[in-house]
């Protein structure tokens, strides 16, 4: 098969968008946190918590949208822990984030094991189904690539526009961006730096959790140990790649999804000559390359990682 044929197939872009969807949620969540000045390394654990909580809520009968709500709440909860530790207490964002990842992951695994002590094959739920929108789903190419995905993918695309609109077109967004660049100036305006930062981290974490929930409620229909497999960390790299902009986040996630979908197809072509692990490494190597490409010109939010205390000038 020719490379061009692969790239022009709607099924290829369908796969790319499916791979990109959880990353879109994750990168948007990470950039909302970081725009407010807080690096959230809890992301890997929050993905796990979202995947577990959303799946379990559906399994217990909450319905799919109820499950998403539960996942978002779980993400917000862990985000709140990270926010309290790093914003008013000003503790190391690196260490607190790793702590939240360890906590959220172990709590998810413990809860899953406690609820299902000895199941050999994980129980399955009925996940989100591919959409069949009149007209749109029948469009050539894009109908299959985008409008035949599940509702969660559409939600991710909508969230890109909502996040961009809030950040760049509303006073709230202006305040969030300012609090990540110059918190003292925000306080001088009579706004609460703590409230803005805590709020951004909680909301951002809820968005991350939706990325995790996509895996158990849309891409698959069950929860597995280790299923997040570094996707959260990939999002942190993509956030830098996207220069903390929602539109670029979408492009970055789609590019990543396209590369990943491409290497899977390449594997079926040349898989016999190379060990499968070489292909499995590609997403992580790609993330590092993406970081190297943008490193020199990366324009980090100026107050990222810098704690700020009330009354400080």
């Amino acid at each position: 098969m020719e490379i061009i044929d692969i790239l022009l197939a709607a099924s290829f872009w369908e796969a790319a968008i499916r791979i990109a969807t959880p990353l879109i949620f994750g990168v948007l969540g990470a950039l909302v946190c970081e725009r407010a000045g807080v690096l959230n390394l809890g992301i890997e654990g929050i993905f796990t918590a979202g995947a577990m909580a959303g799946w379990m809520a559906v399994w217990l009968g909450a319905g799919l949208w109820g499950g998403l709500l539960v996942a978002a709440l779980a993400g917000g909860f862990f985000g709140l822990i990270h926010a309290i530790l790093t914003v008013p207490l000003g503790l190391s964002q690196h260490v607190s984030g790793i702590g939240v990842t360890l906590l959220a992951t172990s709590l998810s695994y413990f809860t899953y094991r406690t609820a299902l002590p000895d199941v050999s094959s994980p129980p399955r739920i009925t996940p989100f189904q591919p959409l069949d929108i009149p007209v749109l789903s029948d469009l050539p190419f894009i109908g299959q690539a985008l409008f035949s995905q599940t509702a969660m993918t559409i939600l991710a695309f909508v969230l890109v526009f909502v996040t961009g609109w809030v950040l760049y077109r509303t006073p709230l967004g202006l305040a969030i961006r300012a609090v990540g660049d110059n918190p003292s100036a925000v306080e001088a305006q009579g706004l609460s730096v703590y409230a803005l930062r805590i709020g951004a981290v909680v909301v951002g974490s809820a968005m991350m959790a939706l990325g995790g929930a996509f895996l158990t409620m849309s891409a698959f229909d069950a929860f597995f140990f280790g299923m997040i497999n570094g996707r959260g960390w990939v999002c942190i790299a993509l956030t830098v790649f996207a220069s903390w902009r929602p539109g670029k986040a979408l492009i970055g996630a789609l590019l990543f999804g396209a590369f990943d979908a491409f290497q899977v197809r390449l594997q079926t072509e040349v898989g016999a000559f190379l060990p499968s692990q070489v292909f499995l490494m590609m997403p992580y190597i790609l993330s590092i390359i993406a970081l190297i490409v943008v490193a020199r010109k990366a324009d980090y939010p100026k107050a990222l990682l810098v704690p700020w205390f009330k009354g400080q000038r």
Binding site: L85, H94, I98, S106, I236, A237, Q277
Partner: protein, 355 residues
């Protein structure tokens, strides 16, 4: 209103007491998940204590677990001192283990006094190189080391898997992806007859003492602390930040690599992809509980190891998931972070006065 006031001098009680209290609170908090799992709480705690300390065997098991944790704890402690955020100890551990197997599984042969240092040096070098790479990318290209070291953990594990199915595969393993065993003369001998605790523990303790002296008493140690406290000021006073960072990377990666050597040559005897149940990540908790003190790392590694061994044994007895151990360790990390805050600041609760 709550007001925070910096403390000028925390004093010994806060410095040494807070981590102990934080660990204690994490243990007590475990009662909540135990209750939710419908487990007999008092009995569960009893089983955990006897599982970790109840017999010579259980103490030996606990010390066997503590050995890699001391080494990865030291790796995190020295890196975090210099604010080099090495979250890649897990990958460095596996690279060290793989290097140990590469030279220690029969390629070269010799007496123990040759082979044991050889596998240690090979493992430490591999671990060190594994961290020097991301560190150079940080100093030369400005690439954030947190993400690169994290992502390298996944890359290394896949690389190990690939090697175990290829060049390093044991032809006698009946298809299991594992390496050939370390030859007898490279095996770390056990410290007690019929027990698993091995030479690695002595090596880990010696590393902790050596590192403590290095950090406190040498110029390099001073430079590392200076760079960690204020890199700009250190640079201004003529310290080469890049050189210091690479030294720290070599030490930190090397120690994590040694943890891998110790697991392969002391505990397992061969390399497999389940060699480490997250020792690299747990090392971060160990280092933070020790407040980045090398000697403190010994104590906190013993604590974390006893939580793991105790919870494993409790889990086998009454069927509560052993993920409880990971939960306790994670809570201990968050508790000690908050505790660290309380040592640096006094908290005042004030009633808002009218007007």
């Amino acid at each position: 209103m709550i007001r925070f006031e910096p403390r000028s001098n925390p004093g010994p009680f806060l410095t040494y007491g807070v981590p102990v209290i934080a660990a204690g609170i994490a243990i007590l908090l475990a009662a909540i998940p135990l209750a939710l799992a419908n487990a007999p709480i008092i009995k569960a705690y009893g089983l955990m204590i006897s599982g970790a300390f109840g017999s010579v065997f259980s103490i030996s098991e606990m010390l066997t677990r503590a050995t890699p944790l001391i080494l990865t704890g030291l790796a995190a402690a020295i890196a975090f001192r210099a604010k080099l955020w090495n979250i890649g100890a897990e990958g460095q551990l596996y690279m060290g283990a793989m290097a140990a197997v590469a030279v220690g599984a029969g390629v070269i042969d010799g007496p123990s006094w040759v082979m044991i240092p050889v596998v240690m040096i090979a493992g430490a070098l591999a671990g060190a190189l594994m961290l020097i790479g991301p560190t150079l990318m940080k100093t030369r290209l400005g690439v954030d080391e947190v993400v690169t070291t994290l992502l390298l953990n996944f890359i290394v594990l896949l690389f190990v898997q690939m090697m175990l199915e290829g060049a390093l595969k044991d032809p006698m393993s009946m298809g299991w992806p594992q390496s050939e065993p370390i030859i007898d003369s490279a095996v770390f001998p056990p410290l007690l007859e019929r027990m698993r605790v091995h030479l690695g523990l002595v090596i880990a303790l010696m590393c902790a003492i050596a590192l403590a002296i290095f950090v406190k008493r040498t110029v390099w140690g001073f430079e590392i602390r200076a760079v960690g406290e204020n890199a700009a000021a250190a640079k201004f006073s003529g310290i080469s930040v890049t050189k210091t960072m690479i030294l720290v990377a070599a030490l930190s990666g090397g120690l994590a690599g040694l943890a891998g050597v110790s697991e392969v040559a002391g505990t397992r005897g061969y390399l497999a992809t389940d060699l480490s149940p997250g020792y690299g990540y747990a090392g971060i908790v160990v280092a933070m509980l020790a407040r980045l003190s090398p000697i403190g790392v010994i104590a906190s590694a013993l604590f974390v190891a006893s939580v793991f061994v105790g919870a494993d044994s409790m889990s086998r007895a009454i069927g509560v998931s052993s993920y409880l151990a990971d939960l306790i360790v994670a809570m201990a990390l968050l508790c000690v972070l908050i505790g660290g805050f309380l040592t640096r600041f006094k908290v005042h609760f004030e009633r808002k006065s009218a007007g």
